[in-house]
Amino acid sequence: MTQQDTSRRNVVFSHPSEQEFAHILDFYQIPWEYEPRAFALAWDENGNVTEAFTPDFYLPEQDLYIELTTMEQHLITRKHRKLRRLRELYPEVKIKLINRHAFKQLMLKYGLDESEIPIGNTANKESPSEISRSVDSHPSGE
């Protein structure tokens, strides 16, 4: 077992598709971090963060954030709005959207969907407590 595999066993994923994605990354031996950073997107008049966005994965070797997307239209619209805002505020950050349903069938095709890692309970990664715990404010201090 690799060190990466070991670290994954301590991760509580918000969604089974995230676990599957992590499984693929492990298969390719691509180092990853799960939700390592929240990006502040909006602030109130006192400078408190009121909206943030936490990409699902960060791939340090590629310096790339990954957000797994859903096919539900209202969620896509909301997510795209946040992504536009993120790109405005943090133009140096590279982020890639991946359809979370696209890779499941392919994994099954290759017989790679054999993970026995338990999936954690669903958590709202953009809850106020999560924001206050890990949010990174815009460098300009907006």
Binding site: L59, Q62, K96, A102, L112
Partner: protein, 188 residues
Amino acid sequence: MGAITVSRQVGSRGDELAALVAQRLGWRLVSRDLINQAARKAGVPEVALAEVDELGLLGIRPSARDWRAYQTQVERIIRELADEGNVVIVGRGGQIVLRARPDVLHVRVVAPFELRLNWLQQERGLGREAAAACLEASSRARARYIRRSYHVNVEDPSLYHLVVNTGLLSLERAANLVIQALQEIGGL
């Protein structure tokens, strides 16, 4: 001030051989770093992910423009590495990019299908069927990369100074041959 390029069949232990040769020569080994570095420099890091994803599990399809930007950086980095010398470069068409360089040895690593299949099963913990599917898909992806970039067949032996079969030679003996060949072309 020479260099070695290593092209390898999936499961042929070519990566291990490249690492062993680099270690014995005290040279730098460049493999996946090349992919990541090129993609980052081109400003298209997702292309690195697409390139590593030889099985197409992630469904990432870079635009032609992004791919060309990446490819340009790959070639630039390979040339820079060869200029610096004392480096073993694995994959990414180094044997084509540097074919005109007389001080660069080009090696192809092969092995019988069954051995490669067994290796992949053990290395990745896969069943035989899954390993065979992976072997086929990865082989196709690597051949496609060379064909798409340079319009040549990666299996063409005329691209290489040396084709090494790790099914018949131990890694140690294969490394001996590679180093001897490097000496023969004046790369040491």
